[in-house]
Assembly symmetry: C2
Homo-oligomer: 317 residues x 2
């Protein structure tokens, strides 16, 4: 008989199909498990799958007395209360690097689209304004990539892949990270220094208390009126209200955002701008990336039920 | 007194500002010069600036008896009747490679945006459909870049820059060109073989009689239902009607187009598709690229008026 696994976050069914062939899935579909299942049903649950960004607090863990493994689908685990899990002897796993290429690709897509005014350009063609030779201030020539200074905030697997991709566009790449890495890019000693130096700031840092609102009004001011910010990490890293103000006052040139403070809500104050490119948290959303993330989830669960350590355990959890 | 130079195509005034500081510009603004200027005014014109894609035939040259230099703003010169120019002893110049990085950047932008369904993703956020959790078939996971086979048709300066950029996305790069080049990419012996091999076809070949409608229904069929075509060269290289048919019948997955058969007109049959990304021929349209193109135009004109050969002369013209 297959082992039972609770699905905590709301996932499209297709993402769970392969996992469902190996385990008996109990889908809470984003609701508190105790609302969907009886206490008796939950009493046997030893492992759960969650999306790393979904808040998962001690109170929920307490409704699952047998829980010993939380497996995050994806790289992030910022929603999981790691201390609470550790206190209860619950191992936390994730899918490190499985989606790095897909996320880095989207980051570069957002940078290229935002800096080149791709959306207004497409709209100019589709609306017939091109054929009518209507002038469009948004289609004035923009600075190109050769020589552009691109700053990468965070130099994990995703940051490295962003850096190697943007370097191919003849840009200069700099980065700031808690520690220096053995990479062929200029190290800047602080986020302030990076924002001052670059004209495109790519946020690839892990979300957490130490990076909450790290990109604030002051950082955006240093980025400057020709600067762009791209975020594929978590919405919490940017002070979103400060970003809206900077866009409103044109103290930065634009933005590319895959993540938001309160997903799936992107505020109207943000969606009103033509100089932003917005995507619905699809960074890791490619077919290969999903397969790789599912491989990690399956490997973590199979090891757990075999009584072995999780192969992709969150360090420090 | 500065030398007179006729402006033949319709250019935004900003593009001619630097050139206008050095020469006395007579702007026909896209109209036949004989409609705008008197025969006497035209009798002294020894040099003109044109956009390479604008048709410039023998009859027009005959209205300019003193014409000895046609200077194309940009890389292309496909609109210029080179035989007619040669017969009249008119040198033809252009701006080789000046816009190569800008054009290659846009090609990759179009590829990334089309394959990742960027426009539907942005629309999904802006429309509120994400917040409403409305399903969107266009936002199903798509194949990502690692391992993707990208075929580059044409291996000039632009093709090489496209290849080095897309290779950074962990793709496999192949190419077809009239001759093999010393490049680290797989050579395919024909356009048919390239289309069969790749899933994204990047058109970077020079426009001309030999490449007219080279990407036809047969090539699109070989590209296949998961295939994308990206064109930043000239609209004439694709059989646009065949492309519309392939998109209508979903025998290819999508397209990214900066150029069209009959610019500035993109037919309604094309603008109706959500799986195409359309830009108004802005490939070379960055500030640095315009400066570099203007440098070439100025260098060509200054050499010409000094009685020297054009430094950027079209070979074989």
């Amino acid at each position: 008989m297959p082992f039972e696994v609770l699905i905590y976050s709301r996932f499209p069914k297709a993402m769970m199909a392969r996992i469902g062939q190996r385990f008996d899935l109990m889908d809470a579909a984003g609701k508190p498990p105790a609302e969907v299942f009886t206490a008796e049903q939950l009493s046997g649950v030893r492992a759960m799958i969650t999306a790393g960004g979904t808040p998962l607090r001690a109170e929920v863990m307490d409704t699952l007395p047998a829980l010993r493994a939380i497996v995050c689908y994806g790289t992030g685990y910022d929603g999981v209360d790691l201390d609470a899990a550790a206190k209860r002897g619950i191992a936390v796993g994730h899918s490190p690097a499985a989606n790095a290429a897909a996320v880095a690709d989207l980051a570069v897509t957002l940078m290229l689209a935002a800096t080149r005014h791709l959306l207004p350009a497409d709209e100019y063609v589709r609306s017939g304004n091109w054929a009518a030779a209507k002038p469009s201030p948004l289609l004035r020539p923009q600075p190109g990539n050769p020589g552009r200074r691109v700053g990468v905030y965070g130099m994990g697997e995703i940051g490295r892949k962003i850096a190697s991709r943007v370097a191919a566009f003849e840009t200069e790449v700099g980065y700031f990270s808690r520690s220096r890495h053995d990479v062929p890019y200029q190290y800047l000693p602080s986020l302030e220094a990076l924002a001052e130096w670059c004209s495109v700031l790519m946020i690839a840092v892990r979300a957490g208390a130490d990076t909450h609102h790290a990109v604030n009004a002051g950082i955006l001011r240093k980025l400057g009126k020709d600067g762009y910010v791209v975020n594929i990490s978590r919405g919490s890293v940017i002070d979103q209200a400060a970003l809206v103000t900077a866009l409103t006052e044109s103290t930065i040139a634009g933005a590319g955002l895959d993540v938001f403070e309160n997903e799936p809500h992107a505020p109207d104050t943000l969606t009103a701008f033509p100089n932003v490119v917005l995507t619905p948290h699809i960074g890791g959303h490619t077919t290969e990336s999903h397969t790789a993330m599912q491989d990690c989830v399956i490997a973590n669960l199979e090891a757990f039920f075999a009584g072995k350590p999780l192969p992709y355990e969150v360090r420090g959890a």
